[in-house]
Structures are given as C-alpha cells and as structure tokens.
Symmetry: C2
Subunit: 205 residues, 2 copies
Amino acid sequence: MEQEKGILIVLSGPSGVGKGTVRKAIMKRDDHKLHYSISATTRKPREGERDGVDYFFKSKEEFQRMIQNNELLEWAEYVGNYYGTPVKYVNDTLTEGKDVLLEIEVQGALQVKTHFPEAVFIFLVPPSLAELQERIVNRGTEAEHMVKHRMLAAREEIELMDKYDYVVVNDKVDDACDKIKAIIIAEHLRKERIYYKYKKMLEVE
Amino acid sequence: MEQEKGILIVLSGPSGVGKGTVRKAIMKRDDHKLHYSISATTRKPREGERDGVDYFFKSKEEFQRMIQNNELLEWAEYVGNYYGTPVKYVNDTLTEGKDVLLEIEVQGALQVKTHFPEAVFIFLVPPSLAELQERIVNRGTEAEHMVKHRMLAAREEIELMDKYDYVVVNDKVDDACDKIKAIIIAEHLRKERIYYKYKKMLEVE
C-alpha cells in the first residue's frame, strides 16, 4: 500500500510568546510520530541551548552559503539575526510518513506556505499584548529599546494571524500543548488527506 | 462582549456504521458545552429507545405537517421512513454559544450544508464494507433483502464522503469519540472563528 505522507506542522507567533517552551513541551510528551525540525540560526545560544538540539548555530558566512546552495526551506532576518530551516530533513521525514514540527518566526512561516500550502499553520498568541510585554521584560535578556522593538513587531505579527489555519492562546503551556495535539489529530482526519483510502476500499470489494 | 456562536457538528455516515452508539458515547463522556439535537422520525422505536430522548417519534401525518410549517432544518426519507431535525432548537442553542451535535443520515447532512455551510461535517465509516455488512446482519432486526438494500446504499454513501470535512473510522467507539473530541477542540481554534477577538485586542491596547 502506498505510504501516506506525514503532515508538516508550522508553529509560529510573535517573538516572546513562548514558541520554544511550547514546542519543547509537545516533543517531551509526544506519544505519536512527531519529529522536530531543528532550525539553523546565527543568533547566539541562550543559556542551556545546545547546538544540534535546540538549533544549528551557524556563523553569518555559513548561513549565507546555505542560502546560496538552496539548502533552506525558508529563512529570515529577525532582530539582526538569521533563522532558517534545512529543507532536506523536512522532505525526507514527510516522505517516510512522519509528521514534522517546525517552530519558526512569522516571516519564515509565510515562506513555508508558498512551498507547502498543505502544511498546517498554527499561530501562538499571548493572552494579551500586555502579558507579552511583561514576559519579554521578565526574561531580562533584552535592553529596553529592544523590548519596544519587539512589541511593535508583535503588533504587526498579530495582524499576520489571518494567514494561519489555527490560533492557540499560550496561557498555560499544558493547555496549549493539548490544543496543538488536538489540531494534529484532527488534521489527520481531514477528508482531503484520507479520501483516497476509502475510494480504494470500494474498488477492492 | 459579543457572544461567540456555538459550532454545529454534523455526525453522519452509512446506515449501520454505529452513528447512534458513537453519539451516545460522546454525550455521556462529554466534559464541555455540547448539546445533542434530537431528531424527529416516523420509524418505529427500537428496543430501549425513548420518545423525546433518542428521537421524537412522529406519525407520517405529524411529520408532513412539520415539513409544511418549515419546522425542520432538514428531512429525508430513508428505507421507507422519515427523519428530520427540528430547526428552532438548533438555532437557539448556537446563539447561546453552545455547540450542537446532530446525528443524521447522509441525505439529511447534505441539506444541512446548504443552510449551515460553516457547520463541521464528520463522516463515520466502518473499517471495511464487509464489517458493515456483518454488523447489519448481527443486529438481526433486518430481513436479508433489507441488508442488501442497505449495503448498496452504503456504497453510494461512501462516495458522498467527499462532501464532508472529516472522516472518522468507527473501529472502536472510544477511539472514534477521542477523534471527534479532537475535531471539536481543533475547530474552535480555527482562525476563521476567532480572528475577530484578536483584532479587538489590538484596538483596545
């Protein structure tokens, strides 16, 4: 029987909303065939982040070479750093019938949509923009002018929500994970993805 | 704040697939605001079925009066009996922000789609048509020519699957319920249904 392709799930949302935390929680509790696609980035590792686990940390020169060689599904410059998704892993894993989770910035997500319109786009939002600001301040790794810069970016990004399939509020990480799991289950049940199986069933009998 | 409307969930599928069993199981375990819309029918009650709980059992004359008075969201004649959905309960409940579950035959489901294109259409299928036949025989309430009639109808109905949003295999009732619950959760997260909330958030701050 023909191998059913996996689903590409793109998790995005404003910077500071907690994409990384939610992504890690999903991968930790995951009880089905979900694979995380590790991004490449030129930004400095934060405390506890490991190369090849959280990101592939690259120099600007290395990153630009990947762009030139068409090795990236998407890439973006965000607050002075590059972020991108190595394309080969995504394609190979989907072909094996496994789902792939991408956690990327909003600019990158929209690029993925042009290549994978059948992907599932999930937009993670904070309970309010005020809470977003608080989170960014409390992280304490950003200067004040950077916080303001991020807030402006967040307002713009929420306007971009319209390009996504689903909107999940990140009020509690566990609740957000439950919702994302439900989305993945539901997407596997969408008629478009499985109709052909039943057409075959009719042919056989 | 403006009351968000509930979602109309239409559960349908071939006769004999177990729509009633799955519907009862969902309603029994339901831990959120899901309301079952009781259908009207002219068919005879099966053992254990109660008027006003499983169906509103009507005479043909009563049913025809409901059709004439536009009191039905949809109605269909199926294997010599009428089935229909009283419209008022559905509209009132959705307006209160509660989800409504309809469990109806395939003909009726397609009529609902013309009135509620934003409803969520779930098609329940048996693991195989062979198993469908077995189930119908084992129910033992049908003569053999009726079984053949139902099998032909089922093949046609599977062709109709294409009109639905989701396809759920009823291999185990509990698994089917889990999947339908996931669909309902995911549908509440669809961008189309909640984007306006976030647009408002931007206006306020």
